[in-house]
C-alpha cells in the first residue's frame, strides 16, 4: 500500500460512525441539561424600568434553513421598526436582540435560553422547523417565557408559552383537500419529505380521503434534501391519480418539479398541491417548471387589501424591489403586532399578564383580520389556494368564507378521531 492510504474503507466507516455517535451524545447531553436541571421557574429578569424593552429574534441565519428563515428575520425587523416609529409599545422603544439558530434544534434551545436569561427579553419571535420548536418548547416552559412561532405546522400542540401565528392543519391542509374534492379530484398520490410534518399531514390526508371517498394511490417519502426523483415521478405517472399532494420541503422541490415537467406531466392533467412552496421558492425551481401548479397557504403577496399593499410596499422599500413577501414572513410580521397589541391590552410586559390578556386580541394583518384564541394560543386564519403564474407570484383561486377558527387537535372533525392520540 502506498504511504498515504492509511485510512481504509472500514476505518472511514468507523470514523464516521464514531463522529455520528459523538454528535448523538452531545445532542442527548444537551437535551438532558435542558429538560432536567432548571425545572424550578426562575425569577424573570425582564427589565422594563427604562425607555426600551428587549425582544429576541431567533432564526437560522446559517445552515440549510437559512434559505427560508433569513426572510422571517427581515419581516420581524420591519414590524419592530414600524411599531417603534408609531411610538413603541407602552411608550417604550422595542429593541431586537438577534440570534442565529444555525438550523440546529439544539442551538435553538441554547440560544433561546441565552435570550431569556442573559438578554432578559420580554418575548422571542422565530423558529421554523418543528424540530426547532420542539427543542425550544421546554426552555420557554421552564423559564416561563414567550415564543411567537410564525410557521404553518402539523398541529397537535398547544403550549401556554407559545403563540402559533402560522396555520395549523385545519387552516391549510383540510381546506386544500376540500378544494381538491370540490374540483372533482377522486384519487391522489402523496409525496413528501421524511420527517414529522409530512408524516402527520399524510396521516390526516389518509383519514380525510377515507371519509370522503378519495382514493390514495400511493404514498412516498424521500430523505430531506434528496434530489433523486426518477422512480417516484414514474410511479406517480403510471398510477394516474387526479392530483398529487406534495409535502416535500426545501431543495427537493426543485428536483421533483423538474423531473415532473420532464416526463411530460403538467398542471392540466395532474395538478400538484404543495404546502411548502411560497413566493421565495418559485424562483429557485424555475417558474417554467411549476407554472399552473397549486399551493395552499393563508397569505400571498398578491392578496388584495389595504393592509397588504402597505406591507408589501414597506417591505420592498426596506429590503429592495426585487424581494417578495410570503406566508411565513407575513405571519412573523403579524406576530410582532399581536404581541404589541396584547401588551397594550394587558398594560404590562409580564408573561402571566400577556397570557391572560391574549384571548380575543386582534390585528388587521395583510392576510385579513386575525384573532388570538386564548385556549389554544393559535390564531384565526383565512385559507387560500393559490395558483403559480408566469410572473413567479401566487394568485388566489379560492378562499375560505372568512377566517377559520384554529383546531390544532382536530376535535371538530369526526373522521379525524384518534389522530390526535398518535403523537
Amino acid at each position: 500500500m502506498p504511504l498515504r492510504l492509511k485510512l481504509k474503507a472500514r476505518d472511514l466507516a468507523r470514523t464516521l460512525a464514531a463522529t455520528a455517535a459523538i454528535t448523538g451524545l452531545v445532542a442527548t447531553a444537551a437535551c438532558g441539561t435542558r429538560a432536567g436541571e432548571e425545572t424550578a421557574a426562575t425569577e424573570s429578569c425582564v427589565d422594563t424600568s427604562g425607555d426600551t424593552v428587549k425582544v429576541g429574534s431567533l432564526n437560522s441565519l446559517s445552515g440549510t434553513m437559512a434559505i427560508s428563515e433569513t426572510t422571517v428575520r427581515d419581516a420581524i425587523a420591519l414590524a419592530v421598526k414600524e411599531i417603534n416609529a408609531a411610538g413603541g409599545v407602552q411608550g417604550k422603544t422595542v429593541e431586537i436582540v438577534a440570534e442565529d439558530g444555525a438550523s440546529e434544534p439544539t442551538v435553538f434551545a441554547e440560544k433561546a435560553e441565552k435570550l431569556i436569561r442573559e438578554d432578559c427579553v420580554a418575548a422571542v419571535f422565530g423558529g421554523w422547523t418543528s424540530a426547532s420548536r420542539k427543542a425550544m418548547l421546554p426552555v420557554f416552559e421552564d423559564n416561563d417565557s414567550l415564543l411567537y412561532y410564525p410557521v404553518q405546522y402539523e398541529g397537535l400542540e398547544a403550549s401556554e408559552n407559545i403563540f402559533y401565528t402560522g396555520a395549523t392543519t385545519n387552516q391549510q391542509i383540510i381546506p386544500a383537500l376540500d378544494y381538491l374534492a370540490e374540483t372533482g379530484v377522486e384519487s391522489i398520490y402523496l409525496v413528501g419529505s421524511d420527517y414529522v410534518f409530512p408524516r402527520t399531514a399524510n396521516a390526516i390526508i389518509n383519514a380525510y380521503a377515507e371519509a370522503h371517498g378519495i382514493e390514495v394511490l400511493g404514498e412516498d417519502y424521500v430523505t430531506l434534501g434528496s434530489t433523486e426523483f426518477s422512480t417516484i415521478v414514474n410511479q406517480v405517472k403510471s398510477a394516474g391519480a387526479d392530483a398529487v399532494f406534495n409535502t416535500l420541503n426545501g431543495d427537493s422541490n426543485v428536483a421533483f418539479f423538474r423531473e415532473y415537467a420532464n416526463v411530460g406531466l403538467t398542471a392540466e392533467d395532474m395538478p400538484v398541491m404543495s404546502v411548502s412552496i411560497a413566493e421565495e421558492e418559485v424562483g429557485g425551481i424555475g417558474v417554467e417548471n411549476i407554472e399552473g401548479q397549486l399551493a395552499a397557504w393563508n397569505y400571498y403577496q398578491t392578496v388584495d387589501s389595504p393592509a397588504n399593499t402597505a406591507f408589501v410596499e414597506a417591505f420592498k422599500a426596506e429590503y429592495g424591489a426585487d424581494r417578495v413577501t410570503s406566508d411565513p414572513m407575513e405571519a412573523a410580521y403579524t406576530s410582532v403586532y399581536l404581541w404589541a397589541a396584547t401588551v397594550e391590552k394587558a398594560g404590562s410586559f409580564a408573561v402571566a399578564d400577556v397570557q391572560a390578556a391574549a384571548d380575543g386580541v386582534s390585528f388587521e394583518s395583510p392576510e385579513g383580520t386575525v384573532v388570538i384564541d386564548g385556549d389554544t394560543h393559535h390564531v384565526t386564519k383565512t385559507a387560500r389556494i393559490g395558483e403559480i403564474r408566469a410572473d413567479g407570484l401566487l394568485y388566489t383561486v379560492w378562499e375560505s368564507e372568512g377566517p377559520i377558527e384554529p383546531d390544532p387537535f382536530l376535535e371538530g372533525y369526526d373522521w379525524a378521531a384518534g389522530l390526535g392520540d398518535t403523537e
Binding site: 502506498p2 504511504l3 440549510t64 434528496s226 426543485v254 424562483g283 429557485g284 425551481i285 424555475g286
Partner: protein
C-alpha cells in the same frame, strides 16, 4: 417485467449521476487517500459557475457548453488552492484533513450564501434538453440522457489521461509506490497538486451538469457528498473501474428497492447492503495490487 427493465434503466441513470459526483473523489480520495469533505462544495461551485455563466451569456444551450470547461477550471483552481494551502501540510494526518476540509466546506457554503443569497437560484435548462424520451415503458428525461453521456465521456477522458499521458503515468507511479516514484525522479508534490486539480475540476463539471436536474443553493453539494464517498468506498480505493461499477450497482439497487418500497426505505436498504458488503470485503470491489509492504 417492463417495469423492472424500466427501473434498471432508471438505475443506470441514477448511477451515472452518482458516478459523475464521485469521479473526482475517486481521484482525490481513491488515489491519493485525502478525505476531502469539501468535495461537495466544489460541486456546488460548479452549480454556481453554471448560474453565473448563464447570467452572462443568456442562451441556455450555449451557456451550458461554456460552463462545462469553465466549471472544470473553477473547481480545479479551488482544489489547487486547498491542496497547496492546507491539505499538503496534513498528508500524514488523515483525520485532521477530514476536519479541516469539513470546516472549509462550511466556509464555502457561507461564502456562497453571502455572494448569491440564501435562496436557491434557477439555472434554466436548454430547450433541446427539455422533455423526455419513452424507453421501455418509462419516460426518461433528456437531461438524464445528457448526464449519462457526460459521465461516459468523463470516465473515458480520465482513463485516457491516466493510461496514456506522461502526467497520468506519473500519477499512477506515485499512487503505486511513492518512495520508488520519488527515487525515479518524479516530484510527488507536483503530481499531488495535479491530481487534486483534476479531481476537483471533475467535481466542478459534475456541478454544472447537476444543475439540470437539481437545485442550486449553498447546501446543494452536501446532498451528493455521502453518496460520492459510498461509491468510492464500495468500489475500492484507487480504481476508476471500481467507482464505475459501484455507481451503477448502487443506482440499480436504489431504483429496484424503491419500486417495491418507498424512497427513504430504499436508502436504508442500500446502506444495509453496503455495510454487509464491506464486512465481507473491506477493501471494496476492486483493489490495487502493489508491491509495497504497507
Amino acid at each position: 417485467m417492463d417495469l423492472l427493465v424500466g427501473q434498471l434503466f432508471t438505475g443506470l441513470s441514477t448511477g451515472s449521476i452518482l458516478l459523475l459526483a464521485a469521479l473526482g473523489l475517486s481521484l482525490t480520495y481513491g488515489q491519493m487517500g485525502v478525505i476531502n469533505m469539501a468535495h461537495g462544495e466544489f460541486i456546488m461551485a460548479g452549480c454556481y459557475t453554471a448560474y453565473v455563466v448563464q447570467q452572462a451569456v443568456g442562451d441556455a444551450g450555449a451557456s451550458l457548453l461554456i460552463a462545462l470547461p469553465v466549471g472544470f477550471l473553477v473547481g480545479g483552481a479551488m482544489g489547487l488552492v486547498l491542496e497547496t494551502l492546507l491539505i499538503r501540510r496534513l498528508y500524514h494526518r488523515p483525520l485532521d484533513t477530514l476536519l479541516v476540509t469539513f470546516g472549509v466546506g462550511l466556509i464555502l457554503q457561507q461564502v456562497a450564501r453571502d455572494v448569491f443569497g440564501a435562496p436557491a437560484v434557477n439555472v434554466a435548462v436548454p430547450e433541446a434538453l427539455r422533455g423526455g424520451v419513452d424507453l421501455l415503458g418509462v419516460t426518461v428525461p433528456k437531461t438524464r440522457l445528457f448526464i449519462m453521456a457526460l459521465a461516459v465521456v468523463s470516465v473515458a477522458a480520465v482513463t485516457l489521461v491516466l493510461r496514456f499521458t506522461p502526467a497520468g503515468r506519473r500519477i499512477r507511479a506515485v499512487v503505486g509506490n511513492r518512495d520508488l516514484a520519488e527515487t525515479a525522479g518524479i516530484s510527488s508534490r507536483r503530481v499531488d497538486a495535479g491530481t487534486f486539480f483534476i479531481g476537483s475540476g471533475l467535481a466542478g463539471v459534475a456541478g454544472v451538469a447537476l444543475t439540470l436536474i437539481g437545485s442550486t443553493s449553498p447546501t446543494t453539494g452536501q446532498s451528493y457528498l455521502v453518496d460520492a464517498f459510498l461509491v468510492v468506498v464500495a468500489g475500492g480505493m484507487g480504481r476508476i473501474k471500481g467507482a464505475v461499477v459501484a455507481a451503477v450497482a448502487l443506482g440499480a439497487l436504489q431504483a429496484v428497492f424503491e419500486t417495491y418500497s418507498t424512497a427513504s426505505l430504499a436508502k436504508v436498504g442500500v446502506f444495509l447492503v453496503i455495510v454487509v458488503f464491506l464486512q465481507l470485503r473491506p477493501q471494496g470491489l476492486f483493489t490495487l495490487r502493489t508491491r509495497s509492504l504497507a
